[in-house]
Amino acid sequence: MEVSVIGSSQAKIGRVDLVNRELGFCGNFRPQIFSRKSKICFGQTIGWPQKSPIRLTVKAAIQSEALVSDKVTAKSKPIDGVRLYVGLPLDAVSDCNTVNHARAITAGLRALKLLGVDGVELPVWWGIAEKEAMGKYDWSGYLALAEMVRKVGLKLHISLCFHATREPKIPLPEWVSRIGESQPSIFFSDRAGEQYRDCLSLAVDDLPLLDGKTPIQVYNEFCGSFKSSFASFLGSTITGISIGLGPDGELRYPSFHNPARNNRIRGVGEFQCYDQNMLSYLKQHAEAFGNPLWGLSGPHDAPSYDQAPNSNNFVKEHGGSWETPYGDFFLSWYSNQLISHGDRLLSLASSTFNDVPVKVSGKVPLVHSWYKTRSHPSELTAGFYNTVSRDGYEGVVEIFARNSCKMILPGMDLSDEHQPNEALSSPRSLLAQIISACKRQGVNVSGQNSSVSGAPNGFEQIKKNLLDENEVVDLFTYQRMGAFFFSPDHFPKFTEFVRRLTQPELHSDDLLSDEAESVSSEQGKNLHMQVA
């Protein structure tokens, strides 16, 4: 909370026309809205909950502000502020294609608009829009929602979801599930033969298993139908579309079949190369590689889902199989399969939408557990061949660059300090690694938060990330609207966060009128983003 800055000084920032403008921009505003918590902000003396870590954070924030403002003065043209979006509820459209709790969403949209949020993100589910039969689309619910968003005057980012979700329960299309009953090999499978039924295996991308069509064709037609149905919104209300790349829409293998339980240290996960088609690709690849014995199965010495890296040989810190030629062979193949799959879908999407002014993006997960080990085992099982000795993300970023797509990166709210020590996790470092790859290749990034219920100190972390990486992160989507989002415990914090990002205009009482001559709202906004 850099709020202490407000109370203590009128820090000057390196712009002549804004001298004497206080940082923070909140002034008298807060007491009305932020009940008790605001009091903490005003006096450093009153009950900081945890003393030392927050003080450090405060200092850090002040320093970085100073740094950035220096940078800004050096730059000729200030970059645009980060746009802020908020995700709509996952089940905003019900499975019978009506808008769920429309009234709440309407109220929510208006609140967001008043707050100065730029837009909202809407998940569009394969299992809802193409629920009954292939090619039989029903966009009515989504169209109604898009209309609501348009009316309020917000922008809309569409996430095309080719996966299923369990909470809330939104399955794959019925007809796909039926096919899966008879042909379970369309799903990913782990070593024990357990299927992951929430999305199709990337191995079937080009196999005509869906009533004679390949999944890629089906996805393509889905995108085409979407495009024609939403033509009137594209480029005006709809400014961005992301295409689902795998489990939870992310480019990865489902190396965990079950969602993590809170605050439990996760094991390393398992490789998901055991469905019939994956195995046959592996076999072909091994034969082509000249070592057919390597293609008979996946690594036999990999740990199971919940085991730690050193509990078996493959991803062991020192002398593990991952550092052997076989390990390199397998991991290269495994990760390349994922990258090729991502490339197929991104190119599909970008060619579909290349004639409309919307930005296409895809989501890359932030697999940060065990990042501090040498083998990065969780990333390996998820399909990222990223170890102490190999950068696994250059290749991933490359497909985004090649298809002129943006990358969506979650985990902007996670900070290293709040990860359990034993997990050897580092979301910050991983984020920095991916973002620097994006910088190098000129790929823009949309940030997201990972934790729906608010990571500890999450807003601080988000702000830091937007600040540090403001060259490539140009949009942030906060996940997600719902009961918790609007609860008195959460919403005031969010409001405060938003105001710092987007609404310097509202700041007035701290502004001496004769000294603020030429502040236009645009400049204010830009400046604010640089400081915030």
């Binding site: 969403i105 208006r110 008043l114 609007f486 919403f491």
Partner: protein, 879 residues
């Protein structure tokens, strides 16, 4: 037999008029052309408050007196009355002498007569007043006049706190505390006495002082120092009210829509809860927008439209525009949260004309007017939001052009923020109600974690609600334990957790507060076996039982050598060493008292080791033998609180509360705002017990008296914005109450202001502290309200340490938010929680809403409160 003059005054309430008009309320569609009008008669029950006034007055001369009984509520009032003669034994009534009976009196059996009240000639400001005057002479042998008031129309009887009204004409009726106009100030214990509703009559004041009392009478007769008095007793009568609703339907020629005009004469806010039905079904459907103004969607099942008030008159109306394609308009009326009106058990229903039936004579003027209504309400959300955004923009341009108007910008900021918060609150309430499992989980978790339940004798679990299980009369039946036993389940179902039973020991006074042999538990309330039975019964229904133990004093059984009663009998046969030395009446040989003396009996010297050890043994025996869970400690002012700690440590009660009752501070007869010294004395006593016992919050009771009676609600906040009683300083040890067997009941030493009891309960039952409800209140006409408040307290898990934020304490209104969950308000003034307050308070909007309503119900000021009701209803019931 009532005279005609009485019956003719019944307003429109007579039965014949109440019958619904016989007319077809529905006819086949085709019979209706463009215009139809229906009229429905509505009956509803309304509670009306009024007064019974009793006046005793001497008329022409000193011998001749007049008793007037009046009532200001409409009704067919009949006085059912009888007398006691001077030498009567027992309390049976007799018929009054013939010369005393007013005309129109009818004898009832052989002990009473009934006389109708007449409409008074003195009509005050249009208010009806019924009155009966009974003339009598003091020469007769009448000791008292007893009566009850009966409303022949409804068959209801009105008594005084469950007993007959009694007007004593001679002085020696002291054994019966129920008499009216009794002189105050005879209390055994010192304490402040307030003049309640009794006022001296003007006519009497006009007499030279002393004349009333100095009547010289024959020595053979008992002295009659009859004093005139005037008292009012509030009563609540349920009155059947006739209203009607009329609906006219017609077809708009231009739009082919059905126009429905609903009009009613029901006063206050009336909500039409409505929907539309298609030809074939019973299912309610919600039509497309637009809706009339003030319409909300209720749970996606129905619409609720608040009728617009008619100008200058009672009632309201609204215009509904309905699309084609529906066959019926169905509705019920909602008067308040609990009152719905329907048509003889079914929904009202209005057939709508189909498109084929076109109106013959279009009426342009009306349809034009209607257009306007339609356009007025069509403000799209976007337009609205845009409006506010424009405000922001203009605000910004104001700033940038250097003409910043601080106040203006602040206002618009606030309005934007309020709007945002309102929207967020709205979204929140819907989202959370639409995912019940999620929200419930969250709630249960957070609540289970929060209050650590640790039991201590000063607080019990912290969630206790006491019921005082007796009043000053309870000993009279001789079998109170068995009577109360029958109510055990009821007491439990209301939500009480602890019951306080009367003192169990054999006692010189029948009420039990003058104990003799402590081990003899056969009292006027029942014998020891019955006592065990009732304790067992309460335990079965999950209620803890407090024994009322009198430790301060004890009545001796024998005289000492000087003929002074100070030698005790029974199992604890102490001698005069057990009696404090500083009360000359009892010549004790113990040490000086460690507290104040109670002068009616020997005070026990607790500094004596043998006394303490005997008392500890006795308390432990009570715990074990009888099963008592804790203690109500009588007159603890009489000795040092440290001894109490000793007794509590030994007997390990679940809960203990002491009665530390002394006078509040007054300056020139007016209660001081600051009662810190008073509460400090109570706090000090609790402190002396090391917090092992709570204490009755006498301070709060006293302040409530002034605040409610004199409309000085500002008293309810101390200088630091906290509650001004003990509950503001040490809430967990404060046992709040508004009445007990001494202050109220038939003793009335310090009675709570009449008619304000429910406000008092709204205060103590929503506030921190451990509330105690008096038997008479819990089981007489306040029962349902108290029960609602108790269950509210339990549902919201308000406990003795709950937080409280006083949001308003002004002349005529007091409001507070407790535990950020419950908003309460008392007093006639206006208060409604701000959006922010509402939003911030609770996880349970519906509960909170009900809470507010139930409190508002106690204080009906229709116009304002119904508007709150609707505002909050709109906030809560958006689903």
């Amino acid at each position: 037999m009532a005279p005609a003059s009485a019956t003719s005054n019944l307003l429109n309430l007579s039965l014949s008029e109440r019958a619904p008009p016989i007319q077809p309320w529905w006819r086949p569609l085709t019979l209706w052309t463009s215009y139809s009008r229906r009229h429905f008669a509505l009956k509803r029950i309304e509670k009306v408050e009024g007064n019974i006034s009793i006046k005793l007055d001497n008329g022409k001369d000193r011998e001749n007196w007049q008793l007037s009984v009046g009532c200001n509520l409409p009704g067919k009032w009949v006085l059912h009355w009888g007398v006691n003669y001077i030498n009567d034994i027992g309390s049976e009534w007799d018929q009054p002498p013939v010369e005393m009976r007013p005309p129109g009196s009818v004898p009832i059996k052989d002990y009473a007569i009934e006389t109708p009240l007449k409409k008074s000639s003195a009509v005050v400001e249009g208010d009806l007043y019924y009155e009966l005057k009974i003339d009598f002479s003091t020469d007769t042998d009448i000791a008292a006049i007893n009566f009850v008031l009966k409303d022949e129309e409804t068959g209801a009887w009105y008594q005084r706190r469950g007993r007959d009204f009694k007007v004593a004409l001679i002085d020696d009726l002291h054994e019966d505390g129920n008499k009216l106009g009794a002189k105050k100030g005879l209390g055994v214990r010192p304490g402040p006495f307030e003049q309640l509703s009794s006022l001296l009559l003007k006519s009497e004041e006009a007499h030279p002082k002393g004349e009333d009392n100095s009547d010289s009478r024959g020595p053979s007769k008992k002295t009659k120092c009859l004093e005139g008095f005037y008292e009012e007793h509030s009563i609540v009568k349920e009155v059947l009210i006739n209203n009607s609703v009329s609906v006219s339907a017609r077809k708009c020629p231009k739009t082919a829509k059905n126009l429905l005009h609903i009009e009613t004469d029901i006063p206050g806010d009336v909500v039409v809860h409505w929907g539309l039905c298609k030809d074939d079904g019973e299912k309610w459907e919600i039509p497309a927008k637009p809706y009339p103004a003030e319409t909300i969607v209720f749970k996606n099942k129905a619409l609720r439209t608040l009728l617009q008030r008619k100008e200058g008159g009672k009632g309201g109306w609204s215009l509904f525009t309905l699309d084609e394609g529906y066959a019926r308009f169905v509705f019920v009326l909602k008067i308040n949260e609990n009152t719905w009106l329907n048509y003889m058990g079914n929904d009202f229903y209005i057939p709508l004309s189909s498109s084929s039936v076109l109106p013959a004579q279009p009426r342009h003027d009306q349809s034009e007017g209607h257009r306007q209504v339609e356009t007025d309400q069509e403000v799209s959300p976007a337009a609205y939001t845009d409006g506010i955004i424009n405000d922001i923009r203009s605000l910004v341009s104001d700033i940038s052009s250097g003409k910043s108007r601080q106040t203006k910008s602040k206002e618009s900021q606030q309005s934007i923020l309020q709007e945002i918060e309102k929207l967020a609150a709205e979204a929140y309430s819907i989202f959370r109600s639409s995912i019940p499992t999620y929200s419930e989980d969250v709630m249960v978790e957070s609540e289970e974690v929060e209050p650590p339940v640790k039991i201590s004798s000063g607080t019990g679990s912290g969630f206790e609600i006491l019921c005082q299980g007796f009043n000053w009369e309870s000993h009279k039946s001789g079998r109170w334990y068995m009577q109360l036993l029958e109510r055990a389940a009821e007491i439990s179902s209301i939500g009480f957790t602890v019951v306080w039973l009367p003192p169990p020991t054999e006692s010189v006074s029948p009420e039990g507060y003058m104990p003799g042999d402590l081990y003899n538990l056969n009292s006027r309330y029942g014998n020891v076996e019955e006592l065990k039975l009732i304790v067992k019964r309460f335990h079965e229904v999950g209620i803890r039982v407090l024994g009322d133990v009198v430790l301060n004093h004890r009545c001796a059984q024998y005289k000492n050598q000087n003929g002074i009663w100070n030698i005790f009998g029974g199992r604890l046969n102490w001698d005069d060493r057990a009696v404090v030395a500083d009360d000359p009446h009892f010549q004790g040989r113990g040490n000086k008292s460690s507290g104040d003396n109670f002068h009616a009996a020997p005070n026990i010297d607790h500094s004596q080791e043998f006394v303490r050890s005997d008392l500890k043994e006795w308390l432990c025996w009570l715990r074990k033998e009888i099963g008592y869970d804790g203690w109500r400690l009588d007159f603890v002012r009489g000795f040092w609180g440290g001894y109490i700690k000793d007794y509590i440590d030994a007997s390990e009660p679940y809960f203990a509360v002491g009665e530390y009752w002394d006078s509040l501070s007054y300056t020139y007869g007016e209660m001081d705002h600051n009662q810190d010294a008073h509460r400090q004395r109570i706090i000090e006593w609790i402190n002396a017990t090391s917090g092992t016992a709570g204490a009755f919050d006498v301070t709060t009771k006293g302040i409530l008296h002034s605040a409610l009676q004199r409309c000085e609600y500002w008293r309810l906040s101390d200088q630091k914005g906290k509650p001004p009683g003990v509950v503001g300083w040490w809430p967990s040890r404060a046992v709040t109450f508004i009445e007990n067997h001494d202050t109220g009941s038939t003793q009335g030493h310090w009675r709570f202001p009449g008619g304000k009891e429910m406000q008092g309960y709204a205060y103590i039952l929503t506030h921190p502290g451990t509330p105690a409800v008096f038997y008479d209140h819990a089981f007489h006409h306040m029962r349902s309200e108290i029960s609602a408040l108790v269950s509210l307290r339990n549902r919201n898990k308000i406990h003795c340490r709950s937080t409280i934020q006083i949001t308003k304490a002004e002349r005529d209104v007091y409001a507070a938010i407790i535990d950020k969950k419950v908003a309460m308000k008392i007093g006639p003034g206006f208060y409604e929680p701000t959006t922010q307050e509402v939003y911030r308070t609770s996880f349970q909007p519906k509960e909170r809403y009900k809470m507010i309503l139930s409190i508002i119900k106690l204080n009906p000021f229709p116009q304002r409160h119904t508007s709150i009701e609707d505002r909050i209803a709109a906030h809560v019931h958006l689903v």
